[in-house]
């Protein structure tokens, strides 16, 4: 079919005065394959849309060039318009003559605008229709990790009728919930929350729990992941549409930074919580308790919260004197500032230092010495118990899992949370999400926000039972593919796998739903076998060619 291109020019309500539109129309009309050139004042308004619709239907074009504002603003609108007219939206080519032409330069820019439009016309000549189609998706979700974030995610998903399997490495659910003494800002205690959540999960028909189980292998793409589950020495395969990682964090007490050895008098937060949960079992009530926080790691949101919570609990249950040695107390979590004030009101003493305190064991007590920057004096404290500084770290196995699944981790080893394009819960792979503390030092309210965003993404992906994709927008030519595996190795979204296509030959196959359309494979393929419709080599070079004309 011969190419027949319709061109619409928009002068943005007559405001683009440094472009001579009639002159452009005259020049463009001389080009080959052009059916018409129409100047409009407001293509984005209803009248403009009507004008486009009637002209396209009348002239039966198979390529549309629109020269208007930035595609960032108008592309979606025009795509919907073309779809409504029964024209394939991939036949649309846009020229940005407002933001990147009229507004960006002083003086007459007619020549540049003309060239930008010619670039778009050159591209439009080569565009081919890309059909949209539905890919069936599996509606079950796997949640890896059975702590607060994992349990909550499963419960929320279940409310939307999505079947969920929680996989927990330990023999019981609960994770860190079992180790916390209190949360601030919530009516319930962690213990109550844990029991009510487990009860809800037991009663929920949509939730299945697998304990003492681990991910051994994941194959497939969004909508159809095949997960090998290792449980009790045996491996079994299950299919899921999406995976939520809620693997949480672990804490490590840091004796190496202080040259301390944990002992009877130097304990972890968890040990303290055990004491607080059964105070009657203590041989002797500790008179003085000191906490050390945030000297070796400034990224200490979670350790600070547990310090504040536990300091208050000590006051309440043991009535001891409490001192907190800190450098810069991190109170950026919801309610943490109030928690800090409350602790001070109840008599917890906060001492601010610049340098690490020197800590020695002395008989049955611990001596802490340091220079207080506010008093300007050396302070020495003898305490019965010292709760050592803790650091929140990614849980064991994060590294293995992330390299197995090609998921990014940040400098601390948490699942990547710094990439602005994926923030907050998306990963480089479609259908895999991170929630809660596994992607950094996240407190409870932040974890809840994560769960909501992951829920929306999962629902969007799975709930209709099928996902709309552009079929074979990126496609490997099975004749040209030499099975070198380069694309499979480099695809950042793991959207390419080997597949047998009609014959004996194995070739690269790109899975539309997992593909994010970056074109890295198209650029790298040594056999030039991969075609990215809309951004193929020919289409990009056709635009380049317009500059010489």
């Amino acid at each position: 079919m011969p190419v027949k291109i319709g061109i619409f020019l928009c002068d943005c309500g007559g405001s683009l005065r440094n472009i001579d539109f009639p002159k452009i129309r005259g020049n463009l009309a001389k080009l080959e394959d052009i059916a018409f050139v129409e100047i409009s004042h407001n293509l984005c308004l209803e009248e403009g849309e009507k004008a486009i619709a009637s002209r396209i239907l009348r002239e039966k074009v198979n390529g549309v060039v629109i020269a208007a504002c930035s595609p960032e603003l108008c592309e979606d609108k025009f795509i919907r318009l073309l779809e409504g007219l029964g024209l394939n939206p991939n036949l649309l080519s846009l020229a940005n003559i407002r933001e990147q032409c009229s507004w960006a330069h002083e003086g007459d820019v007619t020549e540049k605008a003309l060239e930008l439009i010619r670039m778009a016309v050159n591209k439009a000549r080569l565009l081919q229709a890309v059909e949209r189609g539905e890919v069936p998706v599996n509606k079950e979700v796997l949640v890896v990790g059975g702590g607060f974030s994992g349990m909550k995610s499963a419960l929320e998903l279940s409310q939307f009728g999505i079947r969920t399997t929680i996989m927990e490495r330990e023999s019981t659910l609960g994770g860190k919930l079992k180790e916390l003494e209190g949360f601030y800002g919530l009516e319930t205690s962690p213990k109550e929350m844990f029991s009510s959540m487990t009860r809800a999960i037991e009663e929920d028909k949509n939730i299945e729990v697998l304990t003492s189980a681990e991910v051994a292998r994941v194959q497939g793409e969004a909508g159809d992941f095949t997960v090998k589950i290792r449980k009790g020495g045996k491996e079994s395969s299950r299919s899921f549409g999406a995976i939520i990682f809620a693997t949480g964090y672990r804490t490590e007490i840091l004796p190496q930074d202080f040259e301390l050895k944990p002992g009877v008098n130097i304990i972890s937060q968890q040990k303290l919580v055990e004491m607080l949960q059964a105070p009657e079992r203590l041989e002797r009530r500790p008179e003085t308790i000191a906490f050390v926080v945030d000297f070796s790691d400034e990224n200490s949101r979670l350790p600070t919260l547990s310090t504040l919570n536990n300091a208050l609990a000590v006051k309440e249950k043991l009535g001891s004197e409490v001192y907190v040695f800190c450098k810069n107390l991190k109170v950026d979590s919801e309610g943490a500032e109030k928690l800090y004030r409350e602790a001070r009101e109840r008599g917890v003493v906060f001492l601010k230092f610049e340098e690490k305190p020197r800590i020695h064991g002395e008989d049955s007590r611990v001596k802490v010495e340091a220079r207080d920057v506010l008093l300007g004096e050396e302070v020495t404290l003898l305490c019965d118990l010292l709760v050592a500084e803790e650091k929140a770290l990614p849980p064991e196995g994060t590294k293995t899992l992330s390299s197995m699944l090609n998921l990014e981790t940040d400098t601390q080893g948490f699942y990547q949370d710094e990439n602005v394009h994926l923030y907050p819960v998306a990963s480089g792979r479609k259908g895999m999400f991170f929630v809660g503390a596994c992607r950094g030092n996240l407190d409870l309210s932040r974890a809840l926000t994560d769960i909501s965003s992951a829920l929306v993404s999962v629902y969007e992906l799975l709930s209709p039972g099928g996902a709309m994709v552009e079929v074979e927008k990126v496609k490997a030519d099975s004749q040209k593919c030499r099975t070198c595996l380069t694309c499979i190795r480099i695809c950042p979204h793991k959207a390419i796998r080997l597949a047998r296509v009609d014959s004996e030959k194995w070739v690269a196959k790109i899975y539309d739903l997992a593909c994010d359309g970056c074109g890295i494979c198209t650029a790298i393929c040594p056999a030039k076998a991969i075609k990215f419709e809309g951004y193929s080599d020919e289409q990009i070079l056709a635009q380049v060619e317009a500059i010489g004309e």
């Binding site: 960006a104 710094e418 990439n419 950042p492 890295i520």
Partner: protein, 130 residues
Amino acid sequence: MIMGGNNKIIAFCCAESAYRAADRAGRLRIHYPDNVRVIRVPCAGRVSVLHILKAFEKGAAGVLVMGCQEGACRHLTGNIRAKERVKYAEDLLKEVGINGQRVKMVNFGPDMAQRFAREIEEMVEKIKEE
């Protein structure tokens, strides 16, 4: 040395960052030389050595490949691959006697409009000097 008789600059702009920076420059009316032609690509990693070399063949005086900041690529490694390719193209161009500074990789955030304008100006200056 002006090649092919024109002094145009081709800027391959990542749709996630540099293209938005260019839009923003327009919105803020930050003016820059009008001989730049932006080609929108989904990721800087889409740009191959072929595209850069063809641009020079067609008469461009300079080529800019503009992607996201390192560590902030939506496609994780696209901008790093682009950087490697730009380096490769630079070496090839040097061999045939075209100053390596005529092709450049730039990393952007979508809000860095001033920087976009400055990069274009710098490239134009470089071309004028020769």
